[in-house]
């Protein structure tokens, strides 16, 4: 049984967590012609915007209702109204996604009611979808905001099919968690299409934040899934949710449209991809294409080559629950020991992490655990860079934000091929670290004595959970 502990500190030091409204806003960025709008003071938007721009190196649409001290006292109706009218006029969006913040939630702004009033007052907005999601800063974390936003998209934008309407068995809904990159989504699309399936990704960051050069200048997203396509998702044969954070959205889809779903908690690693391929083969009625039979072989070979480097590594990992499960499980399967695991928020998947204890905490916790437990591989987002410098251990950047390296949007972890790439990247880090920091010298072993009698640390590692 994994022990999930919450930090008891009054002061979070070097936060791992990012706030839930920007997670929700992030989800809206996967829609075409979208303008995410944070209902709160302008700083909330400004900080989020900076994060996204630095992560993707792309222009990012994100607006604010610009709440001031006075409007906070008076209530935010007018700000929401003005913001929507203004965005509609200036940006001509196809959809506005509204996320609340700490200020407006503390205030108790009833945005659903506001939207009703606004619709009554401004009939010209009739055709503009407005999706509101409640995301107080003082609860939950980034991936929760993403998950909630997708639930709301399904509830508001997907049309329930008429009774007895025919389904298109080749059409597949894909609900990816926020831990997948635009590059991952591109990879998945190829896989689906190779099985003759037509995937609709909701949200589809691969269309909007993949680094394309748009031929128009719009303040909204260019690319991403169109709301017309979202509306048609009710006719699909299957919904595939990736990451436990998407379970609620998949359930909402099933409730509304009757489309059955299958949840894949992981798509990184050999076995999860075997399951994935088998499932696609089953629903498409086609054998697994030769390309993937080859890719599987290549992954197996990569695992053979890299297990020398990864096997026995003592991993310290800080990530949101779904990413934590995905990466730590894959590395565990390669022989690494998940020695320190820190995450941001509660989740059902935490119990499956192959370790004794998962802490809901911050990067200070992770750094301390890594130090005391002698970890020799660190995985977390870019904010872990200070800890990595102090710990002097190889550091693989994963998750959001990744602002100090290029190519965040194209980092792969899904599929046989994505897993293979990730394994090579991590193994190469370990090799480089050995060459740079652990070259043997004549004195490397001088004075080191082997303990007499049974070693104090069992070969499995004292902190690791024994896995049958």
């Amino acid at each position: 049984m994994v022990l999930v502990t919450a930090s008891k500190k009054a002061c979070a030091v070097n936060p791992l967590k990012m706030s839930q409204p920007i997670g929700a806003a992030f989800a809206f960025m996967g829609l075409r012609g979208a303008m995410p709008l944070l209902h709160g003071p302008q700083g909330c938007t400004s900080f989020g915007l900076t994060l996204f721009v630095r992560h993707f190196k792309e222009p990012v649409p994100l607006q604010t209702t610009a709440m001031s001290e006075v409007t906070t006292v008076l209530g935010g109706y007018e700000n929401v109204e003005q913001a929507i009218l203004n965005i509609d006029k200036r940006a001509e969006p196809e959809i506005i996604g509204i996320c609340s913040t700490g200020v407006t939630e503390t205030n108790g702004d009833d945005v659903d009611a506001y939207i009703k009033l606004i619709r009554e007052k401004h009939p010209q907005l009739d055709k503009l979808p407005l999706v509101y999601v409640s995301t107080p800063d003082f609860k939950d974390a980034f991936q929760d905001g993403w998950g909630k936003a997708v639930v709301r998209m399904v509830e508001v934008l997907v049309e329930a099919p008429a009774r007895g309407a025919e389904r298109n068995p080749a059409q597949v809904n894909v609900l990816p968690g926020c831990h997948l990159t635009p590059g991952d989504l591109d990879e998945l699309r190829i896989i689906f299409e190779d099985f003759g399936l037509q995937p609709s990704f909701l949200p589809n960051l691969a269309g909007s934040l993949d680094g394309h050069i748009p031929d128009r200048f719009t303040p909204t997203t260019t690319g991403g899934i169109g709301i017309d396509e979202v509306a048609r998702m009710g006719r699909a044969g299957w919904t595939i949710a990736i990451g436990a954070q998407m379970r609620r959205a998949a359930e909402a889809m099933q409730e509304k449209t009757g489309v059955p779903f299958r949840l894949f908690e992981r798509l990184c690693g050999l076995v999860p991809n075997d399951d994935f391929m088998a499932f696609l083969s089953e629903i498409s009625g086609r054998p697994v294409p030769a390309r993937y039979r080859r890719q599987r072989g290549q992954l197996v070979d990569a695992m053979l080559d890299a297990h020398f480097q990864i096997g026995g590594r003592r991993l310290a990992i800080g990530a949101e629950p779904d990413l934590l499960l995905d990466l730590s499980s894959m590395l565990h399967e390669m022989g690494a020991r998940v020695t320190a695991a820190v995450t941001t928020t509660q989740s059902t998947v935490l119990e499956q992490i192959k370790t004794k204890e998962v802490q809901i905490g911050d990067l200070e916790d992770l750094e301390e655990l890594a130090r005391t437990r002698n970890c020799d591989l660190l995985i977390t987002h870019s904010h872990g860079r200070q800890a990595a410098t102090r710990l002097k251990i190889p550091f693989h950047r994963a998750g959001f934000p990744m602002f100090d390296r290029l190519g965040a949007g194209h980092q792969l972890s899904v599929g046989y091929r994505g897993t293979r790439e990730l394994i090579f990247n991590i193994a190469n880090l370990v090799i480089a670290d050995r060459e740079e920091n652990h070259a043997p010298t004549p004195d490397s072993w001088r004075g080191s004595t082997l303990p007499l009698g049974p070693s104090r640390r069992s070969p499995v590692g004292s902190t690791e959970r024994s896995i049958a």
Partner: protein, 557 residues
């Protein structure tokens, strides 16, 4: 201790602010906060401003009292450099949860302060107020006072919750916190007649260290820099300086003026961007110090350093002047003084086609007019669309701006250089301006541009994305009051070779970067065939207006 609204009003009344001086009393009372437009606002909040202004104090623990968004989404994102302590890069936040909102966050804040003191024992803690605890009535002044007393350590409340106003207001509120709680609370270990304060300098990318060696050589001591690479003890004892230089006037004019009022420290406003400004700044520092009793030989020594450094910088820039001849720059910045950079770029022989004056005062604008001539194209506000048009129409060869407009230029496949706070190069002083010129050269003459402007092989003539983009712009008339002669120039996206789809920009760039003189050379360096387009290429090479033939093709170009 004054209330937050009173402090805000006081900041609005700042007599040292040039914009304020031109306002009537009623206007002044209204304050400088432009009413933000919901749905089309950009920029940081007052908390952001306060944090930015004070965070570069390196040995202080900066504790943000609020929900995760305020610190979790923003920590460790500034490029200031430290010569020693790294505590300022550690993110501390009370990460308020729902129960704290219900029961109040004061106890949590107090415990957080204790936790930091137990663990890090910094010389001081700055506590930043944010919107949510301000709404629920957490009294951070009281908590800080109690904690200071209990732990015997300065715990400074920075009362600047995001929703009170803009980033700029936050800068000033941070200044007020320093004035009220920090400056004058300690004494320096020793003083010299050469002690100065730098106010509003953040040591981004370590740029202060491009100038500091000159100070060291002259024997001038930076008693305190607010806040780049600053330490608590330095700012607390900064009231003993003999003179002060206000580096970024927008940010902390209240600090400079009140320190003059309270402690008699004269200040001047200056900049270290560009050769002329650096020299002026050094000169003024020397003169102020001598006026305050430093030995007079300082002035002579300073002049000698200026002569030497100017000669070195000019010599280093000289080789670039012919390369930059005729190159046009669009400058879009608010953070750094526009005129200061304008002068610097002109020294390198670049032609300025426009500069933003959004944050400039009347005096700044006069100065820009003086530098750029009466035709100076001053841009109050420019939409990305207009910027793109300006870039694509080849009214400009490179854009210098802050990170926010970065992608307008880059997505138009146009050279761009970051000159705001996120930049990774240091551009201060004589060394810095040479670096800036180097970087501009690298950006302008990168061979990549030529390739990027080629249409994809499957794009038909007049149907590539750039042409479509231009067409879209043309149907939406926009007003750019740029230099008239320049507007009449041929758009760079116009097709010259129709057989192989080559536009004017590609050919112009090839001619410039390879110094081409013949049509044959052009055909070697570009895909242009040189058959039916021979005459047009000749026209380009000769600098004549391009003779378009056959006429029917003009429309598609």
């Amino acid at each position: 201790m004054s209330s937050l609204p009173a402090t805000v009003q006081e900041v609005f009344n700042e007599p040292g602010c040039a914009k304020n001086a031109n306002k009537s009393l009623t206007e002044r009372n209204k304050g400088c906060t432009k009413q933000l437009q919901p749905g089309s606002a950009a920029g940081g909040c007052a908390f952001d401003g306060a944090k930015v202004a004070l965070q570069p104090f390196t040995d202080v623990a900066h504790l943000v009292h609020g929900p995760i968004a305020c610190e979790g989404n923003s920590w460790d994102n500034r490029g200031s450099a430290s010569s020693g302590p790294n505590l300022w890069r550690t993110g501390f936040t009370t990460d308020l949860a729902e129960t704290d909102i219900v029961f109040g966050g004061e106890k949590r804040l107090y415990k957080a302060i204790k936790q930091i003191i137990d663990k890090c024992n910094p010389p001081a803690i700055f506590v930043y107020q944010t919107c949510v605890p301000a709404m629920i009535g957490d009294d951070i002044n009281a908590v800080c006072k109690a904690a200071s007393k209990k732990f015997g350590k300065p715990v400074i409340p920075v009362n600047s919750p995001g929703f009170v106003g803009s980033k700029n207001l936050g800068n000033k509120l941070a200044g007020e916190a320093l004035l009220e709680h920090v400056i004058g609370t300690q004494e320096p270990d020793y003083t010299t007649p050469y002690d100065i304060n730098l106010i509003g300098e953040y040591n981004l990318s370590g740029e202060l260290w491009q100038v500091k060696p000159l100070f060291d050589e002259l024997g001038i001591r930076i008693l305190c820099c607010i806040a780049g690479d600053g330490k608590y003890h330095e700012v607390a004892s900064s009231h003993r300086a003999r003179a002060a230089m206000m580096v970024c006037s927008r940010a902390m004019i209240n600090v400079a003026r009140k320190m003059e009022e309270r402690y008699g420290i004269p200040f001047f406003e200056g900049s270290f961007y560009g050769i002329q400004d650096s020299s002026d700044a050094l000169r003024e520092i020397a003169q102020l110090l001598v006026k305050r009793g430093a030995p007079e030989d300082l002035i002579g020594r300073t002049e000698a350093v200026i002569v030497r450094e100017e000669a070195r910088a000019r010599a280093a820039i000289e080789p670039y002047r012919p390369r930059f001849k005729g190159k046009k720059v669009l400058l879009m910045t608010g953070g750094v003084k526009s005129w200061s950079i304008v002068a610097a770029l002109q020294e390198a022989g670049l032609e300025l086609v426009g500069t933003s004056v959004k944050k400039s005062t009347k005096e700044d604008k006069e100065r820009i007019k003086h530098l750029m001539g009466q035709d100076a194209h001053m841009i109050e506000d420019m939409t990305p669309r207009e910027m793109y048009k300006m870039l694509k129409d080849a009214k400009t060869d490179i854009m210098l701006s802050g990170g926010k407009s970065q992608f307008v230029a880059l997505k138009a496949a146009m050279p761009w250089l970051d000159i705001n706070q996120e930049r990774c190069h240091a551009y201060m002083g004589y060394v810095g301006i040479v670096k800036l010129v180097e970087e501009i050269d690298k950006a302008l003459f990168n061979p990549m541009w030529e390739q990027l402007r080629r249409p994809a092989p499957w794009d038909r003539a007049a149907d590539d994305r750039q042409t479509r983009a231009m067409a879209q712009l043309d149907v939406q008339p926009i007003e750019i009051v740029a230099d008239r002669a320049l507007t009449q120039k041929t758009p760079r996206a116009r097709r010259i070779c129709f057989c192989n789809t080559v536009d004017l920009g590609t050919i112009e760039d090839a001619i410039r970067s390879h110094n081409l003189t013949s049509v044959e050379a052009v055909t070697q360096h570009t895909p242009a065939v040189g058959g039916c387009c021979r005459r047009r290429i000749e026209d380009i090479l000769a600098g004549r207006p391009i003779s378009w033939w056959p006429a029917t093709l003009q429309a598609t170009g």
